[in-house]
Each structure stands twice: as structure tokens, then as C-alpha cells.
């Protein structure tokens, strides 16, 4: 009789604990699934293809206004998923960066850099305007690494060029699609 009472109590405690774990998991899962099909990413979760917004073509804009922009929306064509990402302009060109690339958690959390290295075709949306681009990984070039790192450091407290050279952070130039590049690195 006493054993049966203890067993029932134990099962109830287990169920309460299970429900307390289940509620946040279901909430987070719901948000992640709902964000997946949205036009662009939310604050935390990635989103679907960038659909809304004027598609800008023609000559390269003056990117200096990016110095005041915190994050942009970036979508790869394959797979067609979007996320928010840091951006820096340097010497008339623009760059995006992904850190924690030398850790297991980073590689699991951030799959887009490897996907972009395979196929760099991308669309970015800044202030409601879309731009067709190609991502090209940058691993060398002291002047570029120094300049971009300094701008990233000013905006986000980024470490420095050593973290790019060591592979901790992956840096991509976001080049115009018409430049003939299709992903890869240099």
C-alpha cells in the first residue's frame, strides 16, 4: 500500500517535471517552425527567402552608410534560408563575418558559412532594399583583413585579423553577382 502510494507520487512528480521541460521546448519549437517560412529572419531564428523589397540593380552604391547599420538580412539561394548577420564596409566593398567556426557548437549552430563556400549566390536586404550578391570567403590579404577587422572591431568589438587567419572567424566579401564569382574562397 505504501509502495503504491510512493510510486504514484513519483509518477506525478515526473509528469510535472516533464511538463515544465515540455512547455519551453514546445514554445521554442513553435517559433522556430513559424519563422522558417517567413519573409526574412526574426530576432533569433532564421527565416525563409527574402521576398519583399525593391531589388536594386545597377552600379554599386556608396556603402558608407553601413557604418550605422547593426545587422542585415542575408539569404543564400541554396538552401533558401535567411538570417541576421553583422556587416562591415571597407574600401568601397562589403564584408560579413561568422565567428566560433572552430568550435563544434559553432559548426552545428552556423551552417551557412560552409553552404556559402559551396555556393555563394545570395540575396541581402538592407533597409528594405534587396541586393543580389555572391559571397566569396577571404582567408588572406593583410591589408583587407586589418581594415575589415578594424571596422568590425569598432562596430561589434571583433577581435582582430588573427581570428580570421586562425579560422575562428570566417570572413566573406559580399561581391556583386555580376562579378562572375560563384562562391569559394581566396
Amino acid at each position: 500500500m505504501n509502495d503504491r502510494h510512493t510510486s504514484t507520487l513519483f509518477r506525478r512528480v515526473l509528469m510535472v517535471v516533464g511538463v515544465l521541460i515540455l512547455i519551453p521546448l514546445v514554445a521554442i519549437g513553435t517559433l522556430a517552425i513559424a519563422s522558417g517560412g517567413a519573409d526574412g529572419p526574426s530576432a533569433f531564428f532564421g527565416g525563409g527567402p527574402l521576398v519583399a523589397g525593391e531589388l536594386v540593380t545597377g552600379p554599386e552604391p556608396d556603402w558608407s552608410f553601413l557604418g550605422d547599420i547593426g545587422t542585415i538580412e542575408l539569404q543564400l539561394l541554396d538552401p533558401p534560408r535567411s538570417r541576421r548577420i553583422w556587416i562591415a564596409d571597407y574600401d568601397g566593398k562589403i564584408y560579413v563575418v561568422s565567428a566560433y567556426m572552430d568550435s563544434a557548437i559553432g559548426l552545428l549552430w552556423k551552417r551557412w558559412p560552409a553552404q556559402a563556400e559551396r555556393d555563394g549566390r545570395a540575396v541581402m536586404r538592407i533597409q528594405g532594399k534587396r541586393y543580389e550578391r555572391t559571397l566569396m570567403r577571404i582567408t588572406s590579404g593583410a591589408e583587407v583583413l586589418e581594415g575589415v577587422s578594424a571596422e568590425l572591431g569598432r562596430k561589434y568589438g571583433f577581435d582582430g585579423p588573427a581570428s580570421i587567419e586562425s579560422g575562428h572567424a570566417w570572413l566573406f566579401e559580399v561581391a556583386p553577382r555580376s562579378s562572375g564569382t560563384a562562391g569559394g574562397s581566396r
Partner: protein
């Protein structure tokens, strides 16, 4: 199904509908997650 399964199913449906339909809940959860992620990363 036993009563327990119905309770769990009800909670799951309730949480899903709350997250999807109540304004501000999604933003609140994302804010918490973002704060946690930033704290972990720094």
C-alpha cells in the same frame, strides 16, 4: 489514450496557440533566447 496523454496534448496545443496567437509572446521568448545567447557567447 490515458488521461496523462490528453493532459500533455492539451498543454502542447495550448502552448502552440499561445505562442502563435498572443501578441508579444514570441518577441518575449526570442528576447530571452537572444540574451542567453549573447551571454553565452561573451
Amino acid at each position: 489514450m490515458t488521461r496523462s496523454y490528453w493532459v500533455i496534448l492539451g498543454i502542447v496545443v495550448g502552448v502552440v496557440l499561445t505562442v502563435l496567437l498572443v501578441p508579444g509572446i514570441g518577441a518575449y521568448i526570442e528576447g530571452k533566447l537572444l540574451g542567453w545567447a549573447v551571454g553565452w557567447a561573451s
